[in-house]
């Protein structure tokens, strides 16, 4: 049967801890959607919780704050992977609770 466990964990590890242009601290914060300062906080929170609210001005604000396009790219990827990871792990826990894990 298909199993994404090792693949999603490797993806999460890579975007948080692997080589990147944004600092590991910044990428970890984007992944967990916690501990960021403005304007990155607004952009990351929108990506995680209501991505339709992202507007051009959110990107422009983080660019004006000094982040490069690659750093913005990494923040958005970390925010999206982080939210997908939290959803998935929560749902697997619910599935295991409903079935005793089998």
């Amino acid at each position: 049967m298909s199993d994404i466990t090792s693949l999603y964990r490797a993806l999460a590890e890579r975007v948080r801890e692997g080589d990147g242009t944004a600092s590991v601290t910044l990428r970890r914060s984007a992944f967990t959607n916690a501990g960021l300062e403005e304007p990155s906080r607004t952009l990351v929170d929108k990506v995680a919780r209501d991505v339709h609210e992202v507007i051009d001005a959110d990107i422009a604000a983080v660019r004006a704050a000094g982040l490069s396009e690659d750093q913005i790219f990494e923040l958005i990827v970390c925010a999206a992977v982080g939210q997908a990871t939290r959803q998935y792990e929560n749902a697997i826990a619910a599935l295991d609770a409903a079935t005793n894990g089998s």
């Binding site: 958005i76 925010a79 939290r86 609770a97 409903a98």
Partner: protein, 191 residues
């Protein structure tokens, strides 16, 4: 797209590949492909999505493409709704089934285990979490533990992809490019 690096920041080999793709397909390279080829060592999700969508499963490829379209509809991500509705319709050889499912899950002409699992995916996508009581109706409807787990893998892939598509501002392709993309996904997959 909102970041110019996703349109023009690829390395020279990838730019050459995109040129060949444009010449062969006679379509512009779609934004999803531009993203997939941008720094894949950092952000690549191809293997994960391939495993979720084409790995061994009791769900058919058509069922999983329908799940992708349904999740994307709940996320209101137009690019992915259109692309994966087309792929699911082609895989089922039944566009009406896909259209009916996205229009009204309660009355859609699909099997009960699939309907119940789509309800789980819809709630997870909207509310970001589930509890055991949300899972049990799907078990009663006949979905197995592994089928639900496989569906949650599709959910991971598309709750991620939808967020990237919206945040980066994917353009919606013309119908001919969408059909070509659906054929490609069915013949070649995501990896």
């Amino acid at each position: 797209m909102r970041l110019s690096i996703l349109d023009r920041g690829h390395d020279i080999r990838t730019k050459a590949l995109f040129l060949i793709m444009r010449l062969v397909s006679r379509h512009q390279v779609v934004d999803a492909v531009k993203l997939a080829f941008y720094r894949p060592d950092f952000a690549g999700t191809g293997r994960l999505t391939q495993e979720a969508m084409r790995g061994q499963s009791d769900w058919s490829v058509a069922d999983r493409e329908l799940m992708a379209a349904f999740i994307s509809k709940v996320n209101n991500t137009e690019f992915c709704v259109i692309a994966h509705s087309a792929t699911a319709g082609m895989a089922y050889k039944d566009d009406a089934k896909v259209t009916a499912t996205l229009a009204d899950l309660d009355t859609a002409p699909i099997e009960e285990p699939l309907r119940a699992v789509l309800r789980i995916l819809g709630k997870l996508t909207l509310e970001n979490g589930l509890d055991a009581d949300d899972i049990r109706p799907a078990l009663v409807a006949g979905a197995s533990y592994q089928q639900i787990k496989d569906a949650l893998a599709v959910s991971f892939a598309f709750n991620l992809t939808d967020r990237l598509a919206e945040a980066f501002g994917f353009a919606v392709d013309d119908p001919a490019a969408i059909r070509a993309g659906a054929k490609y996904l069915l013949s070649r997959g995501y990896g």
